[in-house]
């Protein structure tokens, strides 16, 4: 019999494990990721691989320094997932150092500084994304128009290398005309210039395209339908619950509807809000991050609604066209407070924690 033979039960297990959970999340990300590769070509694949490898390297270094078993923790899959999620939110043709720097920021500052897996207050991928966005606004907002693999716009190997590793090749590559703003970015600029929203909307991609994803944007954020599919898969596998995504998208959509109805000239409609940017990716994959979201049902409702509200507010009233990352991080900061105040009701007790009292028939005589 094993040494731990006398530890308390249970002596059977659901066979759930961290690596299984992380694996399923990654599986759910595959469709949107592969679509992103196809859509934006080789430079995206380079950036994706670089980001994940760097995340693993950073994790290994940090674990080694902390004196933790490197192999065990690398194998849990959390570092790969962080790198993966970060890569999905980066501009597809961003240079290599964006990926490297981002991965280091995510793993070291976002996660290991707090004490490693399970200890971080903020979603590591969002920490990195926000840090990059604030530090390198130019590189982080250079969104490429789709240039699907094997199409005539698609960069060849040498051009791709030049995109990912600028300055590496002396031969100047012509990349003009390949970049454009995202839907939300464009609308923000147009509204800022005083252009009527309806007029501005006329010259953006049709909503249908944002649904399928053949538009410019971050690597893994363009196809609403594929991300949604991945999210539904996670719901089906019970890795996440419906609460946060529904609360977040519901609040975002609801607020957008109200404001749009009041003043359609200034406020973007709900479908554009939901289908564009990181709304769906954020709702299903980022806000639902297990470590940084509340644990109780009521807490998750508040958290999700808060993410939706802040996303709408940031998109509408601040200088940033996109606000999911900021919104989620702000709500992450509230998670301990939410967890403290919104606990589930304990069996046999009322909401205040006092034992239930029965006075009707059948009660204490």
């Amino acid at each position: 019999m094993s040494e731990e033979a006398f530890i308390s039960g249970p002596y059977n297990h659901s066979k759930a494990s961290i690596s299984k959970t992380m694996g399923l999340v990654m599986l759910a990300l595959v469709p949107a990721t592969v679509f992103g590769w196809y859509q934006f070509g080789l430079p995206t694949i380079f950036l994706f691989v670089i980001t994940i490898l760097t995340a693993l390297l950073a994790e290994a270094i940090a674990l080694k320094m902390a004196g933790k078993p490197v192999r065990t923790f690398l194998m849990d899959g959390s570092a790969i997932l962080t790198g993966w999620l970060l890569a999905m939110t980066l501009p597809p043709w961003a240079p290599w150092w964006i990926g490297v720097l981002g991965a280091f920021l995510a793993i070291i500052i976002g996660k290991q500084v707090f004490g490693g897996i399970g200890q971080n207050l903020f979603n590591p991928a969002m920490v990195a994304r926000v840090a990059l966005l604030i530090s390198f606004p130019l590189e982080m907002t250079l969104f490429t128009s789709p240039a699907p693999l094997y199409s005539q716009h698609s960069p060849d190997l040498m051009q791709s290398l030049a995109i990912t590793f600028p300055g590496l090749l002396t031969e100047a590559q012509s990349l003009d005309g390949y970049t454009g703003a995202t839907v939300l970015g464009y609308l923000k600029i147009e509204i800022g210039r005083g252009v009527d929203l309806q007029q501005a909307l006329g010259s953006t991609e049709p909503l249908w395209n944002t649904f399928w994803g053949n538009i410019g944007g971050s690597m893994g954020e363009t196809s609403a339908i594929l991300i949604l599919l991945g999210g539904l898969f996670l719901l089906y596998k019970r890795i996440i619950t419906w609460i946060i995504p529904v609360a977040m998208l519901g609040t975002l959509g609801g607020l957008a509807t109200i404001f749009h109805l009041v003043d359609p000239q200034t406020y973007i409609g709900p479908m554009t809000h939901l289908m564009s940017g990181a709304a769906i990716l954020g709702a299903f994959f980022i806000a639902t991050d297990l470590v940084t979201s509340p644990v109780s049902v009521r807490g998750q409702l508040v958290f999700g609604a808060g993410c939706g509200l802040l996303t709408f507010a940031i998109r509408t009233w601040t200088g940033y066209p996109e606000g999911v990352a900021f919104a989620v991080m702000l709500m992450n900061a509230c998670t301990p407070l939410i967890d403290h105040y919104l606990k589930p009701r304990i069996y046999g007790r009322d909401k205040k924690g006092q034992p239930l009292i029965y006075n009707e028939e059948g009660g204490k005589s």
Binding site: E4, P10, Y11, A16, S17, G118, T241, V291, K343
Partner: protein
């Protein structure tokens, strides 16, 4: 055809669906175990005070004879499982994870298995008064046989303090592997029902509900057929979900009402008894038999032939293992009870006790627990907890040493069902944390109580001493004053006398 009594059921919070693994033993009919060479009968097999031995070394006893009497309000007597000679009363490893020595009567069977004189039984026990039934149940040493081992008579007497209107029979048997209650209901539905009705009579209830999980259709059928002529007895199918067999959650499923924290189901007018307990009550009231044997499931993939066996109390587990063909593969864990809430046993030397419902021999594959990882706050435990607790927070607090904080968020409302640890992807032994904290709190409370008592006694002694001193001082003062007064008086007298003498003298001289 399966027809059960229909009843509106209520949903309970959380819970898990472990693989039930009942197919190993479910089709094995109950068999009797050959007489073991020695029986070790512990004096404490129940919650409450240990029994007081009435026999001594060398005594010859008959089957069913009382060996030790109950001591105190919550206690139970133990009886001789067979006839034979008392070899001694002393320490023997307990049926407990610790394997600590506890007072145990060792009996060497004489192979005659001769019954002693049993108490007379009423021709119709339903004519007995409720307290007479409860008394007989107490005399037979019957305790809750689902594993809790709370003396059954105490529960039957709850009618004195509570208004009880419903008796619930717990046939959920939600622990994986265990099939002994299932077999009892299939094989002896009439006897079980008789015991149930006797308990109902003793409690004076209006209705009885026999609740059986839906993974035991044969048991449901058998009980339904047995009870179909009794309109006040309902047989109800329960959804298969762990921990359905938890008394409080079973009652919630049936009534939608939660038992108040720190309260009893009796607060809702309900008493819950186990199937095996009902059979023991039947045997005690119809035949006068005390509780000297029980049915147990021996299962797990490490055992050669899983079985349901009627065993005498006190039989060493090794005897059961041998009877079942021994171990076929390397044993990872030996468990008393089910895999969810059972406890590990140190060896097969320990005896069967009244609360043993199962012996599981699990292989490495069955009992493998993954490597422990840090908590990722996935909230699986929060979703699984049937009591609405936050297992992850409780464990974090206990780990940090703040037991009081864990109590504040509900540690003492935890029923140790293990649902949280079952689903934890990080394989954190949550129940181990909770059990540690509960034990530590209990011992702290004891120490505190002891310190409080010591302080109280010391203070009382000081006060007493002070009082004595004060009394002495006062007495002394009083005496002093008296002396002084006396002296003064005497002095006055003397003076007066002297003056008188003087006057006399003067007078005389005049």
């Amino acid at each position: 055809m399966k027809i059960l009594d229909q009843m509106k059921l209520f949903k309970i919070r959380g819970g898990v669906h472990p693989e039930d693994c009942k197919n190993f033993a479910a089709e094995q009919g109950i068999v009797d175990l050959p007489m073991p060479p020695l029986l070790h009968i512990p004096l404490q097999q129940h919650i409450g005070a240990p029994a007081q031995p009435l026999v001594k070394r060398g005594d010859l006893v008959k089957k069913g004879q009382i060996l030790a009497r109950s001591q105190g309000l919550v206690s139970a007597p133990v009886h001789a499982p067979t006839s034979g000679r008392i070899m001694g009363i002393g320490g023997y490893p307990a049926h407990h994870a610790s394997g600590l020595l506890i007072r145990t009567i060792t009996l060497k069977p004489d192979e005659k298995d001769q019954w002693g004189k049993l108490p007379a039984v009423a021709s119709d026990p339903f004519q007995l008064l409720p307290q007479q039934i409860a008394q007989r149940v107490a005399d037979a040493g019957i305790v809750g046989m689902g594993g809790a081992t709370f003396p059954s008579a105490v529960k039957l007497n709850l009618r004195k303090r509570y208004h009880i209107d419903t008796l619930v029979i717990n046939g959920a048997e939600c622990e994986p592997y265990l099939t002994c209650d299932d077999r009892l209901m299939r094989e002896k539905p009439g006897d079980v029902l008789d015991g149930i009705q006797l308990m109902g009579h003793a409690l004076g209830v209006k209705s009885t509900i026999i609740a059986i999980e839906n993974n035991k259709p044969q048991a449901q059928n058998a009980m339904f057929n047995a009870a179909k002529d009794f309109p006040d007895v309902k047989v109800v199918g329960l959804p298969t979900r762990y921990p359905m067999g938890s008394e409080k959650h079973l009652v919630q499923t049936l009534t939608g009402k939660e038992t108040p924290a720190r309260g009893l189901t009796a607060d809702l007018g309900i008493v819950v008894h186990n199937v095996a307990t009902a059979l023991a009550v039947h045997e005690a009231l119809r035949f006068g038999n005390p509780l000297i044997s029980r049915v147990m499931t021996v299962s797990g993939q490490a055992i050669k032939k899983p079985a349901n066996i009627r065993v005498l109390i006190g039989t060493p587990l090794s005897h059961l293992v041998d009877f079942c063909g021994g171990f076929v593969s390397e044993l990872e864990r030996l468990i008393s009870g089910g895999p969810m809430m059972g406890q590990p046993l140190p060896s097969t030397r320990v005896p069967v006790i009244k609360g043993s419902n199962g012996l599981l021999a699990l292989t490495v594959d069955e009992a493998k627990s993954g490597e422990q990882m840090p908590c990722i706050r996935c909230a699986s435990c929060v979703q699984a907890c049937p009591c609405g607790l936050l297992p992850l927070e409780m464990a974090a607090n206990i780990k940090a040493g703040s037991l009081d904080a864990s109590v504040n968020i509900g540690l003492l409302d935890c029923i140790s069902c293990g649902s949280c640890a079952y689903v934890c992807p990080s394989h954190i032994p949550l129940v181990q944390y909770f059990n540690y904290a509960k034990g530590e709190l209990a011992s702290r409370q004891q120490v505190q109580h002891k310190q409080g008592e010591t302080k109280r006694l010391a203070e009382a002694r000081t006060a007493r001493m002070e009082a004595i001193k004060k009394a002495k001082r006062e007495a002394m003062l009083k005496r002093k004053e008296e002396m002084k007064r006396k002296k003064e008086q005497e002095a006055k007298k003397q003076k007066e006398q002297a003056e008188k003498q003087q006057e006399d003298k003067v007078e005389a001289s005049v």
